[in-house]
């Protein structure tokens, strides 16, 4: 049951990325190409809708003060942006702009990925693990 919720969430997430066009690096690139006459703003719609859905349900759970499995849920406190956040965001943005894939789409397309994208995935996992070790997270 526990794992099933996460599996369904993953399925639903991948289907959403695919439907939204996030699994197509060319579409991501035309969203990022703000100076191009062919600038494609549609992925902003995806983000806006996803954020609105998340926000509506987040504040419902936060008001209940518990998730459905009965665990007490208290909204995490707001933390200030720090140097790590800025540095990490710069590095992440650079890699995203280079290939047009972020972690979700990269994992979703694995079954159809050419060698280059598989190399990207492999070093992405190495980068995540390095980040876990240096940033001191679980």
């Amino acid at each position: 049951m526990n794992l099933f919720v996460y599996f369904i969430a993953g399925l639903c997430f991948g289907a959403g990325l695919w439907k939204a066009g996030m699994t197509d690096p060319a579409k991501v690139e035309s969203f990022l190409a703000v100076t191009s006459p062919r600038w494609d703003v549609s992925l902003m719609v995806v983000l806006a809708v996803a954020v609105m859905v998340y926000a509506a349900i987040f504040f419902w759970v936060a008001r209940r003060k518990a998730s459905l499995d009965g665990h007490v849920f208290i909204a995490p406190p707001q933390r200030k942006a720090d140097r790590k956040l800025v540095l990490g965001s710069v590095l992440f943005g650079a890699g995203w702009g280079m290939v047009g894939l972020c972690p979700g789409p990269a994992l979703t397309v694995i079954s159809a990925a050419p060698v280059g994208v598989l190399v990207f995935l492999l070093t992405m996992l190495v980068g995540l693990e390095l980040g876990t070790r240096t940033a001191g997270k679980k």
């Binding site: 526990n2 369904i8 997430f13 959403g16 990022l32 979703t108 397309v109 159809a112």
Partner: protein, 140 residues
């Protein structure tokens, strides 16, 4: 070409929003894809197995859609040298982990709970990615 038909984007955003909030609703867990992927590398812990289940869901959704249901939707992947892909992957993975989230963690879950930290992260990584795409246009 400018298209004002956003049906795919609306449906995709809806699915992404629901998928992001499911672990919160059922388990009280806030996480994005980079967090799940990093945690899935530690499957001996319960959180690692849960993360692995999420990652498997992602991979299987892609398998079913791209290989079986809609093979015509396999994207034209960009062509670069393997070392270019390797550097980009390292930046994406390490950067997301150090920043504490990626497009989903900061973008969807972070903005969705009105986190200022996440807003700062999203503005920075989107701006940097836009500059990188612009620079790539200059050299090509």
């Amino acid at each position: 070409m400018l298209s004002l038909n956003f049906t795919d984007e609306l449906l995709g955003g809806l699915l992404i929003g629901i998928a992001s909030v499911l672990p919160l609703v059922f388990k009280g867990r806030i996480a994005g894809v980079s967090g799940y992927a990093a945690s899935a590398l530690r499957p001996h812990a319960l959180a690692g197995r849960e993360s692995l289940a999420f990652v498997l869901g992602l991979i299987i959704s892609g398998l079913v859609l791209l290989r079986w249901l809609a093979p015509a939707s396999v994207p034209a992947f960009p062509v670069h040298s393997l070392s270019y892909f390797a550097v980009a992957g390292l930046l994406v993975g390490y950067g997301a982990r150090v920043a504490g989230g990626c497009t989903s963690g900061h973008g969807v879950c972070g903005l969705g709970r009105f986190s200022v930290r996440s807003l700062v992260s999203v503005i920075i990584f989107m701006t940097v990615a836009m500059v990188v795409v612009w620079l790539r246009g200059l050299v090509s």
